[in-house]
Amino acid sequence: MAKPNVFAKMKQKGTLFYWAIVILPILNYLVFFIGVNFNSIVLAFKDVYILKGEKHIDWVKFDNFKTILRDSQVLEYLVKNSMMYFAVTVCVIIPLTLLFSYYIFKKYFASGFFKVMIFMPSVICSMVLAIFYLNFTNEILDKIIFKPRIALMKKDEYATAVMIALFIIGGFSSNILLFLNAMSQMSLSVLEAARIDGASEIRTFWSVVLPSIWGTIVEMIVIAMAGIATQQANLQAMFGNEARNKMRTVGYHIFVSIFTDGFESETNYPYCSAFGLLATLVIAPCTLISRYLMRKFGPSEE
């Protein structure tokens, strides 16, 4: 009796097809996620320098971390600004997006048009938005509306306000579809019951809509929290690599630290990796704990 052909059996079960599909993505994950993150941790404890045209690498223990913590003034600005943008997201952007989403969900006046307008900034390159907005600020706000000219972008306090306004203008679009999806899955009978009971719009929103989509709200806050240290808040688009320290965020600082005199330099990799590792060690547990607490103690649909 002939032995069963293993190859044919695998083909019949789909094992060959399965592995033909997943093998490349798995390799990609191993190299570009596991490998990159492992290498990032290793780099954080190294020093890379060029001597007589040759690259040298030394182990420097915690020196990169000490360098980061030594410059406490800059660190303070970075943390303060990153937290500020996070606060703007949680206190302004997410609540307003929720209110806008509910307006569109209820199909009030011109809701289709407003949906397109809110979503539009997300498909526009941040550079394009920055060019339009920067020139609008310099040429109209600064020259025509504020008289005498106050050089908005030259003064830190005004420039920060201008950047926050741009951050808010472009901030609604990423969340609106998720909130609309969550609202479309709400039980219509509960909304109808609230309407029959004579509940006001605000009451319905607060007591019915909010608890129903709490899970989505938590995810939005978690995404914002996870992005604290990667948030660049359009600084790169508006200021290139030259944003002043007082305006910088952690994400922007890490990105521009890769450059020396406008050119990407391998000698800067360890410092950036150490900064990234430090930020991850602080933010990852905070994000996971917050997610757990918000899910446990948030409003329930009951």
Binding site: K106, V123, M127
Partner: protein
């Protein structure tokens, strides 16, 4: 009669609720700001620098497209190859953008869908492991890995090559995986079983039956990825410096005009450059807005 009156009164009350008025006004103001900003930018791009400087709010004297032709002549980036400086013009940058966004988007859409299909339809240890890997990767924030990525790409001799970009797109750890996973999970397996009885292979079932069933979702995810990559200027800047994309060219046009041989700051020309980069993606948005803004849910496309 009284009831009808009450209903009418109720309807009137609903129409003019404070919520609707306040939020409607805020949304109208928001839309006005955006329309004004884009309208003003377009009109400004048609003016000459001197006239713009003297009155930034005035209308253009006529439709003058000189700034646009100037952008095509002046927007260029250089890189060093050997000992010589090589210039890349805007038309090549557009081609690079098309390759970066188009091919990258296609590869990522295909592999995300394919792995999601395998996980949803071929249950087992590997499938559940892969699904959990996606969820964990999405939840845990990782910061500052660009230097490490550059280091690895340099070591693998993949830095500054299209291959280096495209191998990174053979990934599946995105939110779209979960959407595809739910979509394939919701499709009846009877289609596949009938095909197997007729002698179809697993790959044929996937390519000729399952993928066409999620065609709308595939197109939506591809468009979203295309838009994302078209607008991306930081990754092409870092990973393919000698193949600049249009978005990266625009970045340097605004922040580093001297490198392009321009020593004057011409605001209308800068704005015209922004409009040129904006138009293709805006056209895609207008054509596919229903697909892009369709309800992309974990169950596929709704509505």
């Amino acid at each position: 009669m009284e009831k009808t009156m009450e209903r009418k009164k109720y309807k009137v009350k609903r129409k003019i609720s404070a919520y609707e008025i306040v939020i409607g006004c805020v949304l109208a103001l928001y839309s006005f700001i955006l329309i004004f900003l884009f309208g003003w930018a377009f009109l400004s791009s048609l003016r000459n620098h001197g006239a713009f400087r003297s009155d930034a709010l005035a209308f253009p004297e006529g439709l003058k497209w000189k700034n646009y032709t100037d952008v095509f002549k002046t927007l260029k980036l250089s890189y060093i190859e050997g000992r010589s400086k090589v210039w890349v013009k805007l038309d090549t940058m557009f081609l690079n953008s098309l390759i970066y966004a188009g091919v990258g988007g296609l590869i990522q859409t295909f592999f995300t869908a394919a792995v999601a299909y395998c996980c949803a339809r071929y249950k087992g240890f590997t499938s559940s492991l892969l699904r959990n890997v996606v969820i964990v990767t999405l939840i845990i924030p990782v910061v500052g890995t660009m230097p490490s990525l550059l280091d690895i790409l340099h070591n693998m001799k993949l830095h500054d090559t299209w291959m280096g970009i495209f191998v990174q797109r053979v990934s599946f750890c995105t939110t779209y995986f979960l959407i595809f996973y739910a979509a394939f999970g919701a499709i009846s397996w009877e289609y596949a079983e009938s095909a197997f009885i007729d002698g179809a292979s697993h790959s044929r079932v996937f390519f000729q039956i399952m993928l066409p069933l999620v065609k709308t979702l595939l197109i939506t995810v591809f468009i979203l990825l295309f838009v994302q990559y078209w607008n991306d200027y930081q990754n092409p800047w870092m990973l393919i410096p000698s193949m600049p994309t249009a978005a990266r060219g625009l970045y340097h046009y605004l922040n580093d005009p001297i490198s392009m041989g321009m020593n004057d700051e011409n605001v209308p020309r800068q704005i015209a450059a922004g409009v040129i980069i904006f138009v293709p993606i805006f056209t895609i948005f207008v054509i596919f807005r229903d697909k892009i803004m369709g309800n992309l849910t974990e169950g596929g496309i709704k509505g």
